[in-house]
Point group: C2
Chain length 205, copies 2
């Protein structure tokens, strides 16, 4: 019996896109359920039963309900993907954990926050978000001068986790010109099989 797979998503959310993107790259069908975030649906029942923190995305995959885009990538990789997407040896797994931390901290509070301010009018510290954006992009530029992918020699969940809000950085008025290696990495990821851009609906069931 085919399992029901639903993704609670918001079309302007880079974290939601992150999961839609990986589902598409893995060729997994799903039903996308749009959450009315502008109307506050994510902060009320019944959505809060899916994620008490009131954030999208949430994946419901048969019996499994899971919030947090990084966690969902890890789940999908372990359950459905080739092992190269999430190598389990101590060092590569730790290096991936580091980039998942960077996605949750430096990228979320850097370029993603810069975009929250410009696109959604969030009352957050724009100068701080820009300073954090420059710091993480400077590091990524240096790192990606030495290698093609964030961890090892093949794409992993680390790349997928970091992609959306770096690709969306210009919407937050972050200038990408000083980071050509980062732009090349974005293009490399966008050339992978199954890639879908942010603003086109992913394939649904």
């Amino acid at each position: 019996m085919p399992q029901v797979r639903r993704l609670f998503t918001f079309k302007l959310s880079g974290n939601s896109y992150k999961v839609r993107l990986f589902l598409s790259m893995l060729g997994l069908d799903f039903e996308a359920i749009e959450v009315d975030m502008r109307g506050g649906e994510h902060k009320r029942p019944p959505f809060l039963a899916l994620n008490p923190l009131g954030q999208v995305p949430v994946l419901v995959d048969g019996e499994v309900t899971l919030a947090d885009s990084q966690a969902i990538l890890v789940y999908l990789a372990r359950r459905y993907a080739e092992a190269s997407w999430l190598p389990l040896d101590p060092l590569p797994l730790a290096q991936i954990a580091r980039w998942l931390s960077i996605a949750s901290n430096e990228i979320q509070h850097g370029p993603a926050t810069a975009r929250l301010i410009t696109v959604f009018g969030a009352k957050l510290d724009a100068a701080l978000a820009m300073k954090r954006s420059v710091a993480i992009l400077t590091y990524m530029q240096s790192h990606l001068t030495q290698q093609q992918w964030l961890v090892g020699e093949r794409p992993t969940v680390a790349d997928v986790a970091c992609y959306p809000y770096i690709a969306l950085a210009p919407e937050g008025h972050v200038d990408m010109q000083p980071y050509p290696q980062v732009s090349l990495w974005l293009a490399r990821l966008a050339a992978l099989p199954g890639f879908v851009p942010m603003y086109v609906p992913a394939t649904t069931a």
Copy 2:
């Protein structure tokens, strides 16, 4: 030949403590190297060669150099710990990834930031840090009403990752009274073999 293991640390850093704590719980010897963060040593060479983002802790374990406290926990668990500290099945691994994200985002920008303001005089938004602290602690209180540990039925790296800045929350003037289940969980973790408190040096080689 015994491997040289060094931890670059700062004694008031909860992220440094996180790694010292897990090393102690695993009974692993190490040399602690105090970084003069007040003097800006972490933002200059040669430290920047260890971590270009200029953050402690950094672990040097033989040939491996690794930054980011969450990533170091993952490395140590995979390399040296019993499998129960980091189960690899899709769902528990993803649930752990979720709590590592929470440690990097909601806890770092909630109670850890509240403490950066009170203890270090950081010029950050105190009201926002307090709002975020209440949100994550409210979720943890609810979650820990249903279970003893953050993921599954045994302690994992998720508990170690979240412990320090929740234990330190009162230093940021976060009132823990509304979260008795969280306080019980803190006490449960502090009763595990090998536990060391923040302000006493961990066992060194």
